[in-house]
Each structure stands twice: as structure tokens, then as C-alpha cells.
């Protein structure tokens, strides 16, 4: 398939998301505004007002209601989108679990913003990291182009009948959400063809017949009633099974999209950057990867074998891909843009070290908590991390496994 001719638009991250949603034939959008996600919903409501989309836009009084609205709309078999971040996402917490448990393939954009208090509107990943266990697929993007591409892919992933897993796409507050970027957009009809219409699988209903898995007066079913110690566990086990299949589907959708758009993000799960022969590497999520790639290039010109592993998909966690990418690296620094207070480092570090325990050769792994509340992560600080890694390789000793970088003493 030939790569489709595209339009180059000047869009910020939020606008890129809104544009992708506009093209994805979404039936229902319900959202509540929160900085820095507001532009997504504002732009989209303009599309609704102008008649550019055939979408029902439902105004609600809170994020808890917004996601409840989305969940129930999705249960009727239609395509649904919402967006949030920070305190808004926290208010959705309860319904995130209900949505994944109801196997409602809602797609949500999260503009990553710190959680209060003290109140802060800038970027870190603490809002979505606490939701990693909610049963949603989590995709973290590096730039606005990827935000656009990932939203389109997210509908195909979430609604895949082997998955039916709600999917959140994360973009960094302000750095992406409010920064103008050149974004290539596909023609409307190409996106519409790619996302298609939502397909509904069959389930066995209470009348003993196979009926469409949706709320439909013609074929009534009961979804998610009381589920106690006799069956709740089985339903959770089913969710895990779908998550086990998810990496394959995410890769397939990513590859199919790459064939029409010409854009790839690693294998869709991880994006290794100059890692093949790397001795030292960092691991990060989101927009920091862009800055880090520049640093890696600078180090490479000096003959330092530096690399980067960007995690694109954080749930499902691409265990084997990460092990394969990192097992021959000598020292790895994880960059965590959130912290688990009182724990041994940040959440990305926890799992990274955990899975490499089983690898044949494991690198030294250290953690850097950075960028909380929108604190800048300039190239100078990333260079500092690579210098520390060189020292670890040289001395074969880790002095401080967990550090806070960019914070004043």
C-alpha cells in the first residue's frame, strides 16, 4: 500500500488530538474541561457546533460524570471519546475500573499534569501513573504528531474484539499540549477507512442465545451486575488475558498505520534509539525522549556508546521487548517523571528492575526522579545522567541507586 499524501498543519498537541478525533467518526464525546486538556474539548465542540462531525457532545458537571456518560454510551455499541488529566483523571478513578471491567472500549486523551497539592498545572506523570492498574491500555507519546497518530490507532486497538480494553493516550502538558508543531494529517476518508465502524462481538445472554455485546432493546442483556466471590475473579482473569493479547494487536495496528502514513514509533510498544551497540542507556516516557535523543546524538559524536529506550506502551508492559532491548547494556538510568513516596524509586524504575531480574545478564539500573510539576529537563541534566552512567560502568559500582535530578538542595 502506498503512503497516503498528507497535509501539513500547524497544530499544538491538544489540537492534534481534537483533529484526530474529528476524523475518527466518533459517536459520543463527553468531557469536562481541565487545564491543560481544555483545548481538545474546545476544538472538538467547535467541530460539533459547525456541523463538521456527526457526534453527540454531552456536557456534564464533573469528570466522574463524564466518564460515566462515556462508559454507558460505549455500552450501547457506539464509538466514544473523552479527555482529561490531573485532578480530573483522579476524579474519574472509580469509573476507570468500571469502564475496563465493563469492557467498554472508550478512548481517552490524558494531558499529563501534576496532582495537587500545592496546586500545579504543569507536566509530570503522577496523574496517569496512579491509574496504571485500572485495566486500561496506556500509550505515552513523544510529540504532537505521535499524539495525532496514536489517537487514531487507539480506536482500532480499544475496539478490537479480542481486546475491548479502554485506551488512554498520554501527552505532556504544555510541552506538547500548548506548543505549536508541524503535524502531518491524513485525508478524512483515509482515517475513516482505517478506523472503520465499531464491530460488536456476540455474547451468550440470559436467554441462552448469542446476542450482540451491547445494550439493545431488541436483544436485551444485563451487563455488570453484582459479581461476588463466585465470579468476579474469573472476570478479572479475562481482563488480564485480553491484556496478554494486546501487545500483538497494538503492533499490528501500528504497522498497518505505518504503511499508510509512513510513520513508525519503534515497534509500537518500545522505541529503541541507537541502542544496538549501546553500553549506557536511559529509559523514559513522553516528550523527554525528544531531548534525550539530541543528547544521545551529541554523545555519539564523541564516541560514547549511549542509547535511549522510550516506552511507548506502558500498559500492557512490553516485558520481553524491554529485556531484549536492554540486556546487553551495561548501565541503565530510568527517568521517572513521578514518584511513589516512601517506595524504592519511581514506578517506571520498579518494573524495569523487576523484569530485568530474570534476564540472563542484567545491567546496573539506577533511577532519576525528574521534572515534577513541570520542572524543566534540559540537555545539561540529561548529560549529567549519562556521565553518572559512564562512572558506573567504569567503577562497576552504584553509589546512589535513586536520585532526584533538577531539584534544589
Amino acid at each position: 500500500m502506498a503512503i497516503t499524501k498528507q497535509n501539513l498543519l500547524a497544530l499544538n498537541g491538544d489540537e492534534a488530538v481534537a483533529y484526530a478525533v474529528k476524523q475518527s467518526d466518533v459517536d459520543v464525546v463527553s468531557a469536562y474541561p481541565i487545564t491543560p486538556q481544555t483545548i481538545i474539548v474546545e476544538r472538538f465542540s467547535e467541530y460539533v457546533h459547525n456541523g463538521e462531525v456527526d457526534t453527540e457532545f454531552v456536557c456534564v458537571e464533573s469528570e466522574h460524570s463524564a466518564l460515566s456518560m462515556c462508559l454507558t454510551a460505549s455500552a450501547t455499541g457506539v464509538r466514544v471519546f473523552t479527555a482529561s488529566g490531573s485532578a480530573g483523571l483522579a476524579l474519574m478513578h472509580e469509573i476507570l475500573y468500571v469502564t475496563s471491567g465493563a469492557r467498554a472500549p472508550v478512548v481517552m486523551a490524558i494531558v499529563n499534569r501534576a496532582l495537587s497539592g500545592p496546586i500545579n498545572i504543569h507536566c509530570d506523570h503522577s496523574d496517569s501513573m496512579v491509574e496504571r492498574d485500572a485495566g486500561w491500555i496506556q500509550i505515552y507519546v513523544e510529540n504532537s504528531q505521535e499524539a495525532y497518530d496514536s489517537i487514531i490507532q487507539a480506536f482500532r486497538i480499544a475496539e478490537h474484539n479480542d481486546l475491548l480494553i479502554p485506551t488512554m493516550v498520554m501527552l505532556d502538558a504544555f510541552v506538547l499540549s500548548h506548543t505549536l508543531e508541524s503535524v502531518n494529517v491524513l485525508p478524512d476518508e483515509t482515517v475513516r477507512k482505517f478506523v472503520g465502524t465499531r464491530r460488536i462481538p456476540l455474547v451468550r445472554g440470559h436467554r441462552g442465545k448469542l446476542v450482540p455485546f451491547k445494550l439493545d432493546p431488541e436483544n436485551p442483556i444485563t451487563m455488570g451486575p453484582l459479581d461476588l466471590y463466585d465470579y468476579y475473579f474469573e472476570h478479572k482473569r479475562q481482563q488480564e488475558e485480553a491484556m496478554q493479547i494486546a501487545p500483538r494487536i497494538i503492533k499490528e495496528v501500528h504497522d498497518e498505520y505505518a504503511r499508510i502514513s509512513g510513520r513508525k514509533y519503534g515497534n509500537g510498544l518500545i522505541e529503541p534509539y541507537r541502542l544496538e551497540d549501546a553500553e549506557i542507556a536511559t529509559v523514559c516516557l513522553g516528550s523527554t525522549a525528544g531531548t534525550t535523543k539530541t543528547v544521545v546524538d551529541q554523545l555519539r559524536t564523541k564516541g560514547i556508546k549511549a542509547g535511549l529506550l522510550r516506552l511507548r506502551t506502558y500498559r500492557p508492559y512490553p516485558v520481553q521487548d524491554i529485556v531484549n532491548a536492554l540486556e546487553n547494556v551495561e548501565a541503565v538510568a530510568v527517568m521517572d517523571r513521578s514518584h511513589s513516596f516512601g517506595a524504592h524509586g519511581g514506578p517506571v524504575f520498579h518494573e524495569m528492575r523487576h523484569i530485568l531480574y530474570e534476564a540472563s545478564i542484567h545491567p546496573q539500573i539506577v533511577d532519576y526522579i525528574y521534572g515534577l510539576g513541570g520542572r524543566d529537563m534540559p540537555q545539561t541534566l540529561i548529560h549529567e545522567i549519562y556521565r553518572d552512567l559512564q562512572k558506573i560502568v567504569k567503577t562497576k559500582r552504584v553509589e546512589k541507586p535513586i536520585q532526584f535530578i533538577g531539584v534544589r538542595e
Binding site: 471491567g101 465493563a102 469492557r103 475491548l164 455474547v203 451468550r204 445472554g205 440470559h206 436467554r207 441462552g208 455485546f213 442483556i221 444485563t222 451487563m223 455488570g224 451486575p225 459479581d227 463466585d230 465470579y231 474469573e234 472476570h235 482473569r237 479475562q238 488475558e241
Partner: protein, 92 residues
Amino acid sequence: MTSEQKGWKEIPIAGVCWRPATDYLTGDWKTLKPVRDKEKCNKCLICYMFCPDGAVTWDPEIEDIGFNLDYCKGCGICAVECPKKAIEMVHE
């Protein structure tokens, strides 16, 4: 866990019910059951309308009411609402 219970590979996703609610004999929840005094009852059917579980029955052939104890949870609403005080809740 009894052997009748199905495994996760067999059951529908998302807690969709694959059996009708009538399969669950919720009548075994009760500790009190309704007993009707046929002398006092004038078959006004107020109990029939108030029963939250549809456990009060009406048989048009014999033109009389009855209680389906498979689904009666023993809540006693029928006894409270009966204008003739014809229903008494008694221990099973």
C-alpha cells in the same frame, strides 16, 4: 467452589448474565414467609401490585392469589400494605 461453576474461559465477558434471573431462587434468603387468612382476604390484589419480586401470583382460573415462595424474599411489604390485615409474616 462447587464443580458446577464455570471457568473464566467459558463465561461471557464483562459480567454479562448468561442465565435468566429466574434461575436464581432468591426465596431462600427469607426468614419470614407470608401466610394469608382466606377469610379476611377480599382479593383486592394490592399485595400483588406491591410485591417487589412479583412473588404474589394470580390464577385467573380459580380467581385467587398465591405466593411463589421460590422468589419471595420475606420482606413483608404485602403484609404491611394489606388493607384487611389478612397477611401475617411467620417464621419458616
